[in-house]
């Protein structure tokens, strides 16, 4: 059936709660209100206030409590009202949760999830894409789906995973895209990228909302006989090195496209991986298309200027093709 990205996530969590009584949700306004974006709408009626817990505004306590519950064998799904607020729980995530298994061997099957990303005029505190801080934080799995199918399959995989997973839901996609989602139970494996468009001239390595930007650009470029291959990473930690290497090996030219700010961003990591894996296959420099190095400005013309756009991909693709 056709579902929105949001509804796919909602169903994924719902089904896991139905299937496994050890799954429960906690977060701010997730109960009667159903969450700021209504991802948990109806959950409290179905699963009761014990399993759908409205918490005080205390992100470190939410993460801490989710982690503690996970140590007893529960599988908490904690919502950040916006992923911008994840910095309020940073130490708890980085030093408590992420290091647990490495240091003393306890699994911590929890999911931290919430809306991230721009293009909705959310301004500097409601548009952030903070995934890099967690990519550079061993012990966490970091997931950023682009389609309803992947979103549902990956949230289910994250809930079943025995590691702490951070699940970034792109709020621009929530209700703007629909896609086919099978009725049967399925999961999408964490850590596997996906070629969403095959092409021969150059590769775009990207994820989340930018996948759609890349696809749009590919349509335009197809008319100019520039044939893009698009790799949707889906999981940004751990990264699918093989898939990255394979697409570069094939097209020999690569653009890395991400929404978050450039310096210290994911494109750097991928550039390093490409150097390590397939340096000899490169026929042109690795190109980055990213957000600017500042906070995300609020005003639409400024936000538009700040964020990567279809025309950026078109322009850089032409340039790289000609290199």
């Amino acid at each position: 059936m056709q579902l929105t990205y949001l509804e796919a996530i909602r169903q994924g969590i719902w089904e896991e709660m139905d299937r496994d009584p050890s799954v429960f949700c906690l977060g701010e306004d997730i109960g009667i209100y159903g969450g700021a974006f209504k991802v948990t709408d109806g959950f409290i009626d179905r699963f009761g206030p014990e399993r759908v817990i409205d918490t005080p505004i205390a992100e470190s306590a939410i993460v801490g409590a989710a982690f503690g519950a996970s140590l007893t064998g529960m599988r908490p799904v904690a919502e950040f009202q916006f992923m911008d607020f994840i910095g309020c729980a940073f130490n708890q995530i980085s030093n408590m949760v992420a290091k647990t298994h490495y240091l003393w061997g306890a699994p911590a099957p929890l999911v931290l999830r919430g809306p991230s990303g721009g293009y909705v005029h959310g301004g500097p505190f409601h548009s952030q894409n903070p995934e890099m801080w967690f990519v550079h934080n061993p012990g966490l799995k970091v997931i950023c789906p682009a389609t309803p199918y992947d979103a549902k399959g990956l949230i289910k995989a994250a809930i079943r995973d025995n590691n702490p997973c951070i699940f970034f839901e792109h709020k621009y996609l929530y209700r703007r895209i629909k896609g086919e989602v099978p009725a049967d139970d399925y999961v999408v494996p964490i850590g596997k990228a996906n070629i969403v468009r095959e092409g021969r001239d150059l590769s775009i390595v990207t994820y989340a909302a930018m996948v759609h930007t890349a696809l749009e650009a590919a349509e335009i470029l197809a008319k100019e006989n520039i044939d893009l291959e698009i790799l949707d990473l889906r999981t940004v930690s751990p990264l699918d090195r093989e898939a990255i290497a394979a697409t570069v090996k094939k097209t020999n030219k690569v653009i890395i496209l991400h929404e978050h700010s450039r310096t210290g961003g994911l494109a750097g990591e991928i550039a390093a991986i490409i150097n390590e894996e397939v340096f000899d296959d490169l026929d042109g420099p690795i190109v980055r298309i990213t957000g600017l190095d500042s906070a995300v400005p609020f005003s639409p013309p400024q936000e538009h200027h700040y964020l990567p756009k279809v025309e950026d991909v078109v322009r850089e693709s032409r340039r790289l093709k000609a290199y």
Partner: protein, 428 residues
């Protein structure tokens, strides 16, 4: 505020005694007085209940028919000052009506946040500050901005993300600041972070020989954040002039205050900080002012922070998108009768007769004219250029000439304290 003169370092709210010398029964009984200026003590309480249809809803209990209390006469405010505060409250409300209309006309970027029902709290609190004092509003304190000398257009342009807005489009709502003239720190969305920041402002000023009051606000929800605790505690230990209003408006987005804390009143937390706490009716401008002014004076006297809990209700949804259907309707009815402007209007016009009906009507239309004019200016500001997204991430050379705002900081005097430390020796 009864605690004003009690300037002991410990337990300013209370006294303690030991009852009994016999080991087996020693118990420490402590009595704390939390001054409560309110003239009524609503006993409403909200909880989740599962209804027959399986839905979980909020249910309110308590006396929903209690009569509306009178306004408490201010100990400090003159007639003129009362009218001035009233005027700011009108401006605050009319500006928000204008914002709502701008939103409906599609001119606002993002949502609109309202302080409906909380105008007394915003306006009378900020009115208690002196010019040199500092403040930082939260998102509902659009009235505080007006009192502190910002124009309605500033906030309006922020909401419309205009080029001439105080942040030139980069941020919205009341997220802007001014360290040059109006001593305002910009809020950020993350709740509670302002509290240590304002404490730091007081610390900076004190190092320059000045005890300033630093006022900010936090919601009944936002006060659950750890940084709130760290910030108040820092001010308490350092004896800094923080004046913190807890806007106890019963809801944090959709979450009732019963689910944020378990003590009865948030002012009780003052006990654990070792600072004075006081409760006021947040819909009564006089109470708000009196408590704020006494706290500001404590700050100026170097007596440390004060926690003021203002009780009221958020009379709209969290923001314009939120119909607040989770709020039990009788609560709106109860608090609607306690509308701060209607009550103050009644107090000034009918009770005190400080304003004639005609003067009141004139005042209202003057305010409307101002807001209309501000609206025009705001609307006519252009949108920013796309390229204006760039630059300004760093303060580049010469972008600011930074010097202590209140003159040269105090420095330990004389060389008596000077010691031939390792470093000093090395310096030669």
């Amino acid at each position: 505020m009864a605690i004003k003169k009690k300037n002991s370092k410990h337990s300013p709210n209370g006294s303690r005694r030991h009852n009994g010398a016999s080991p087996a029964t020693t118990i420490d009984l402590r009595t704390y007085s939390i001054p409560d200026l309110r003239l009524e003590h609503p006993d409403l309480s909200v909880r989740q209940s599962t209804e027959k249809d399986g839905h979980v809803r909020y249910e309110v209990t308590g006396n929903l028919d209690a009569p509306v209390p009178p306004i408490r006469d201010s100990k400090y405010l003159s007639k003129q000052q009362c009218i001035e505060i009233y005027r700011y409250m009108l401006l605050n409300r009319k500006m928000e009506v204008a914002l709502e209309n701008l939103y409906k006309q599609g001119k606002v970027v993002g949502g609109v946040y309202f302080g409906l029902g909380q105008e007394a709290c915003s306006c009378a609190s900020a009115y208690a500050l002196d010019k040199d004092d500092w403040f930082a509003p939260m998102i509902r304190n659009q009235g505080s901005l007006l009192v502190r000398g910002f124009a309605a257009r500033d906030t309006m342009m922020q909401y419309m993300a205009k080029a001439d807005s105080p942040t030139r489009g980069r941020d919205g709502t009341s997220h802007f600041g001014d360290i040059e003239k109006r001593n305002m720190v910009s809020p950020i969305s993350m709740l509670g972070d302002l509290i240590p920041v304002l404490s730091g402002v007081a610390l900076g000023a004190r190092l320059q020989g000045r005890n300033v009051a630093v006022m900010t606000y936090i919601g009944d929800g936002g006060q659950s954040t750890g940084v709130t605790y760290e910030g108040i505690n820092f001010a308490a230990v350092q004896n800094l002039g923080l004046v913190l209003f807890i806007e106890s408006n019963l809801w944090a987005y959709s979450t009732p205050s019963e689910m944020q804390y378990r003590c009865k009143d948030l002012a009780e937390r003052a006990i654990g900080y070792g600072i004075p706490g006081v409760i006021v009716d947040g819909t009564d401008a006089c109470q708000v002012y009196d408590a704020a002014r006494e706290a500001v004076e404590r700050a100026h006297a170097g007596e440390g922070p004060t926690l003021i809990e203002a009780k009221m209700m958020r009379m709209k949804g969290h923001a314009i998108h939120d119909a607040a259907s989770y709020v039990p309707k009788p609560m709106f009815d109860f608090w609607k009768k306690r509308d701060p402007i209607a009550r103050f209007d009644n107090y000034l016009v009918k009770e005190k007769k400080w304003l004639s009906s005609k003067e009141n009507a004139e005042l209202i239309s003057e305010v409307e004219r101002i807001i209309e004019a501000e609206r025009e200016i705001a609307i006519n500001s252009p949108m920013p250029e796309p390229e204006s997204a760039e630059g300004g991430v760093y303060c580049e050379d010469g972008c600011h000439d930074i010097k202590p705002k209140y003159g040269t900081p105090k420095v330990k005097k004389g060389t008596g304290g000077y010691k031939e430390t390792e470093a000093a020796v090395h310096l030669k």
